[in-house]
């Protein structure tokens, strides 16, 4: 049944997100074309507008993926549609997993479309060299490989955003339990859970620092010239902690849902 639930959750997201994907790529193409034309004031103005539109679509992809995931979660589990959702012959765990996987998939798609858009708009040998040189400057300073830096950077952003989305899910579950259907509690609980998750990551890194002086230095000094080893450790430990928190929180969400719902 999970695959069937997922099919409809994905359909919902596709219907709502496709327009942003198309517009993002469309403006990437227009940006590319306009900056390859013979330049004039008018062309330049239109080109800048096109760039602005492309970046606003990129922002829309990120914001809408997050917002639509929350809206879908709330509508499906707690609004009128819940009368259908909760009477389907599926477990609450399957309901949650479907939303979880749907969000994960659309974040991957979103990141992919953003990369494609940026590639279309800006790719050239010169720009590629500038970008790689820039990253190399950073990674040389940090004494780490470029691939390690890029992977860690993307992973951390992805985990951070995904953690925020799941905090929203958990906040809605607890908020609804506290005060049926009232949005205020959902937002409040979501925000508190997010802060607690961040504080927990920080606290655990601090605990790790008790055994690793280079990591502890991050808490003690504002100097930029920190041991690069500490940055590596910070990135790895933070990523692992986020994964654990996301996993544990998903278990807590399912446990709470399995206790039952009260749909007004």
């Amino acid at each position: 049944m999970l695959s069937k639930l997922l099919k409809y959750d994905l359909k919902y997201m596709i219907k709502n997100m496709t327009i942003f994907y198309i517009l993002s790529i469309f403006f990437a193409i227009t940006t590319r074309i306009l900056f390859n034309l013979e330049q004039s004031i008018i062309i330049n103005i239109i080109g800048q507008i096109s760039v602005g539109c492309m970046f606003s679509m990129i922002a829309s992809i990120l914001i809408n993926t997050m917002m639509r995931s929350w809206v879908r979660f709330k509508d499906s589990l707690y609004k009128d549609e819940a009368y259908l959702t909760h009477t389907l012959p599926v477990t609450k765990t399957e309901l949650y997993n479907s939303k979880f996987i749907q969000t994960l998939i659309f974040f991957f798609i979103g990141f992919f479309v953003i990369l494609i858009s940026l590639f279309i708009a800006y790719y050239s040998k010169d720009n590629w060299l500038v970008l790689t040189d820039y990253i190399k400057t950073i990674t040389t300073g940090l004494n780490m490989s470029t691939s390690f830096f890029v992977i860690m950077f993307i992973t951390l952003i992805f985990l951070e955003v995904f953690n925020a989305i799941q905090c929203g899910f958990y906040g809605m579950i607890l908020g609804h339990k506290k005060n049926n259907g009232k949005l205020g509690y959902s937002i409040l609980f979501g925000f508190i859970i997010y802060l607690l998750a961040q504080a927990l990551v920080l606290a655990l890194i601090f605990v790790y620092g008790l055994f690793d002086s280079s990591v502890m230095e991050l808490f003690k000094t504002a100097a930029v010239s920190i041991d690069v080893h500490a940055f590596k450790i910070l990135a790895i430990v933070a990523s692992l902690l986020y994964i654990v928190i996301i996993f544990v929180m998903s278990i807590l969400c399912k446990k709470e849902l399995n206790k039952g719902v009260n749909i007004e």
Partner: protein, 234 residues
């Protein structure tokens, strides 16, 4: 018809923020019965129905359907019509049919299409383009197109015109088998009383009367509608 209990509700309580909504509800429904769940506004009818459908969690007590606690197994055999429109309005009727076909093994899509045609409803139309009454008809068709064991209908006649009510009652009567049961909650007692086998009167969260419909009529020498009006006179 079998006397086996299809639905059993035992010592059921439901509180919202310490406010009693249902208290000590006990009743059972046998197979092959049409039961009217009757009561004034706010008596607790919809709350009881929601508890049977896992939309609310009991404070105390238990509900069994075919011997199973409320869960995936019971949802396979209960066909529920809520008092509100609950379908994704962005969907076309045909998409909703596919949705029901995907999730319910006992859904008969051919029957659904036939019933929709009888009611002049276009399966290619989006729900958002339909009136509330039309959406309610679509929901009723979907619910009655399942070969379920228990149909739970919350105010099925509420939003429709009198001519359609007769069609709906005919649909209810002709679309369930002798091993299935129907629970109907409604205010429009005179419209449904001719089809009822049993009645449950509910008031202030408690069952105040449960009886065979014919026996009650004979005993009180009045229609169910009249008995209800007498009992709940303001």
């Amino acid at each position: 018809m079998s006397n086996m209990k299809l639905l059993e509700v035992k010592k059921l309580d439901k509180y919202f923020d310490n406010k009693k909504i249902l208290k000590d509800i006990n009743f059972s429904v046998s197979k092959g019965k049409i039961v009217g769940l009757l009561g004034k506004n706010g008596a607790g009818k919809s709350t009881l129905i929601k508890l049977i459908n896992d939309l609310l969690t009991p404070t105390n007590g238990e509900i069994f359907v075919n011997g199973n606690k409320i869960g995936v197994e019971t949802k396979k055999i209960i066909s529920y019509l809520p008092e509100r429109t609950y379908l994704n309005k962005q969907m076309k009727v045909s998409e909703v049919i596919n949705y029901f076909e995907d999730f319910y093994d006992n859904f008969d899509s051919e029957k659904a299409k036939r019933l929709l045609k009888d009611l002049d409803l276009d399966i290619n139309q989006k729900l958002t383009k339909m009136s509330k009454g039309m959406q309610e008809k679509v929901q009723l068709v979907l619910v009655m197109s399942r070969n379920a064991d228990l149909y739970v209908l919350d105010e099925p006649l509420g939003g429709v015109d009198p001519a359609t009510r007769d069609y709906i009652l005919d649909t209810i009567l002709s679309n369930f088998n002798e091993n299935a049961s129907v629970i109907i909650s409604t205010h429009l007692i005179s419209d449904i009383e001719k089809i009822l086998d049993e009645v449950i009167f509910i008031d202030k969260g408690q069952i105040v009367l449960q009886s065979d419909a014919d026996k009650l009529r004979n005993k009180e020498n009045a229609s169910i509608d009249e008995i209800f009006r007498r009992m709940f006179k303001c």
